[in-house]
Symmetry: C3
Subunit: 372 residues, 3 copies
């Protein structure tokens, strides 16, 4: 099992390049949004999973599109295999509604973070939500609980072809290293994360079959960002967030929104050091679902996102200032192949503490995704 995403990103107009010290139009979600690029793989995923017994099931996911830096002449090489998930689910009561997950898995923070990229309409996650958990995963222990009633609603939506958030629980509570995906833990602190989400059936309001999902999540963490002079900061900074989410599943019109607030490390260009600063960001997305057309089912969507705060995943935790409006269309000519086209209007500060100001521009992006 798995999926591959082949992309063609093009900066149609705007600040594709800029002199030193000035932001260029870049995103934290896809390093191939840049000048001088053509085709690129965003993800080449392979999944192995299985039920070992009624009490134990296993999951292993690797990505084959990871670049390794500092190879020939300091240049990077692409296409290396790197772990994404490796966890064991233990069902202590044999009942599948409660599970304890050991190993590397997604941290339960942010609905969009939990949803698989193979299911998401937009090409990249929003800066506001994803900066809380870059690459979404960490090593730790997490417990999930899903009441049967909730599972039934999700099963019904899933069978209908709705884009759900995956094999996670309605309630999750976990402890993780907190330093980030595939990074070496650098402090004795653990990250405490919790999520709750609940789908409401709106039949009682006369909206036959419609489902509205509401929830929130939080984490408490301390993080040591990497620093420009090499290695990680010896100081661990406060990194706490709380967020809310709401989804009206598209039957045929839907809405999806998330927002979060908190405190995190951010480089201050005046004091020239990392400080603890407030964080504020999220997105609103409108989408529709056309079940039949000569080209197969398709989903039009529009998303506006906003973020102000640091990005702990980059060197020196640079400040981001993101506003972006994207319009997109996802086609499914066959279930195994998805084609997405988006056109976006972006105003972004580059994720580099040595570059300032907003880069503005328009982006055309095309993605072919094949599922296997």
């Amino acid at each position: 099992r798995g999926y591959t995403q082949l992309r063609l990103n093009s900066i149609v107009s705007g600040d594709a390049e800029a002199p030193a010290g000035v932001s260029r139009l870049r995103t934290i979600g896809d390093g191939e949004v840049r000048a001088d690029n053509n085709f690129s793989f965003r993800r080449v995923r392979l999944v192995l999973q299985g039920d070992v017994s009624d009490y134990l099931s296993l999951y292993l996911q690797a990505d084959m599109a990871t670049a390794v830096s500092n190879q020939s002449a300091g240049e990077r090489r692409e296409g290396f295999a790197q772990l994404r998930d490796a966890y064991a689910d233990v069902f202590p009561t044999r009942d599948k509604s409660f599970r304890v997950r050991f190993g590397q898995s997604k941290i339960p923070y942010g609905w969009e973070n939990m949803q698989s990229s193979s299911n998401r309409l937009a090409l990249d996650r929003s800066d506001g939500i994803n900066t809380g958990a870059p690459s979404e995963r960490d090593i730790g222990i997490v417990a999930y609980y899903t009441p049967d009633h909730v599972q039934d609603i999700w099963d019904r939506l899933g069978k209908d072809g709705q884009k759900l958030f995956g094999n996670y629980g309605a309630f999750g509570l976990g402890a993780f290293n907190g330093q980030g995906t595939n990074r070496t833990e650098t402090n004795d602190n653990v990250m405490i994360v919790g999520l709750a989400t609940w789908p409401f059936e709106l039949d009682a309001l006369g909206l036959e079959g419609q489902v509205f999902e509401l929830g929130g999540s939080f984490y408490r963490n301390r993080v040591n960002p990497e620093i420009r002079t090499g290695g990680v900061s010896p100081i661990d900074y406060k990194d706490n967030r709380i967020g809310v989410h709401a989804i009206l599943y598209p039957q045929p019109f839907g809405l999806q929104a998330e927002w979060n607030w908190g405190t995190g490390p951010e480089f201050d260009p005046v004091s020239r050091q990392i400080e603890e600063r407030p964080i504020n960001g999220g997105y609103i997305q409108a989408m529709a679902r056309v079940r039949q057309s000569p080209l197969g089912p398709f989903h039009p969507f529009a998303r506006w996102q906003y973020y102000r705060g640091g990005f702990k995943g980059a060197i020196n935790a640079p400040r981001l200032e993101t506003e972006e409006l994207e319009f997109g269309l996802e086609f499914l000519p066959t279930p195994a192949l998805e084609l997405t086209v988006t056109y976006g209007f972006a105003s972004r500060k580059e994720a580099d503490e040595r570059r300032f100001g907003q880069a503005e521009g328009e982006l055309l992006r095309i993605q072919a995704q094949w599922n296997y």
Copy 2:
């Protein structure tokens, strides 16, 4: 599926070592042709493939014998997994004779480049042809068309155990990034590549069952070679080639030849910078096929190769001056195991712009390949 190649290379006599500034006997096809080596893996390949529907089939290949540089004390470590192929074949007309291939796959330039290394008699590809597409692959889109009549001839040869060039088409036309396998694209230009090959049945000439295949290929590209001071050259150089190939399949005697000409980047030691220079090279191979022996079927072969031109895949695109004559024997004691022994007489300039002159020597090489 996949295969592994275990090798023992030995420089029997000649310039195994040399002082700084003088060429040592090295090849661009196998980094383990050097002094002080014993056993080495050249390839450890794993393939996953499958047909998703009548309109879609997928292919994923990784190599487990890739070295990663700059690890402990600046030393490299071996055995990492890196992507080779990841593509989706779309058959828009459901007819398998026409396909559009999306993703990372071989660029259709050079018959020898297209042929799988598991099928090739010689241990390494020739410098003349392979310098056009080092590691043979790139990300892009390519269309292949194979008339049924041609497919029938290849199917017949394949059933007979002939070493064909693989699941490619008689006609191919594609657009790729053009910077090289698993390298980051560095210019907005795409590489345009085309190949045509046609098998002629010689029954009409009274040569029952004999097949002669003739064809050619070309590409137009611009490339930014890596430079000694770090990173890639800011200048993109012209990198254009045209080539021809001819194969008489061994029943029991065969001939195979390719040659190509073009222009590409080459380091000029006088001006001390990379310039656009002519390229000229190819090979001629004679081979036979003994279907039965006490040791199983075997193939004796002899290959002479020649190349004059730059090598865009190495730092600073150094000039190569290669002449090599190899004699070899490939045994197949069981279909899953192939043993190859070659003895070669080489005169080569090392692929390093800081070393000059021709290194001469004799090479004994042994390979065990297991297929799975």
Copy 3:
């Protein structure tokens, strides 16, 4: 097939940190025995194997928990896939008792080295035995022979759930590169390795079903350790060892001991260069097997280990001075899940030629292992 080991190491008391020049409490078996750590993967293994014919079988194992150094800001990244084994077993006589193994596989030195980490009771191998073959593997050719009578005894023990040393032979003799797992060979010398082990049934002594296994192994090698200034030493040092082992399988009480002696490279802090010095070390382990309990079968064990000598696997071959006493319990609630808890009292010199003196401390370690 494969297994994953998730660990939580904690330095309960002692020298978790130390000023420059003084040893900290670290082990060569697990880099995550350190301050400031929480959860970690020690191994994420995946195995592919199969019989191709009566004469040929294949084995491929990769690890998904390998770190790659020198990535962002000089920091390492974890979770990369790297080869462990890739070999072909040829049975020339079709009889499975004799095999020739080609490729990367374990070198037959040390009973504990041969035993899979998924079977070992203690979390890490002992310094004394494992320093002879860090990561246990190398590329080469090795022949194994197992008399049918011996195979029968091992099969009986294996069915009984005893922790055997794996699919190796009673007698092994091989030639390998000798530079270490996934390292580039640096001298023309090969490593010659041999092992013999023989299980004796003690029924004649009135000990019904008890088995006592006795054996020894040796190797002759020359190795070029990595040096602090970059690259490997131009000098190849003598690296020879001989060892003995004895195992009384736990029915229900068992004993296991190994010891080895030899000569190897070791950094001399006075002359400030690597010299050839004597090596001496091993371990004694007592263990029991409780077949039934409310928590499933479990194994209590205690191990004392000792080592004095250089460590060729680290930069500049630093001297180790290790004494450690560990107590542990391994639970098997289901066959696919193993939980191990150990508590250890350690006195160790850190594996860094720039740090001196003994670090002392107590270690609590917890491991969850899932097999698939």
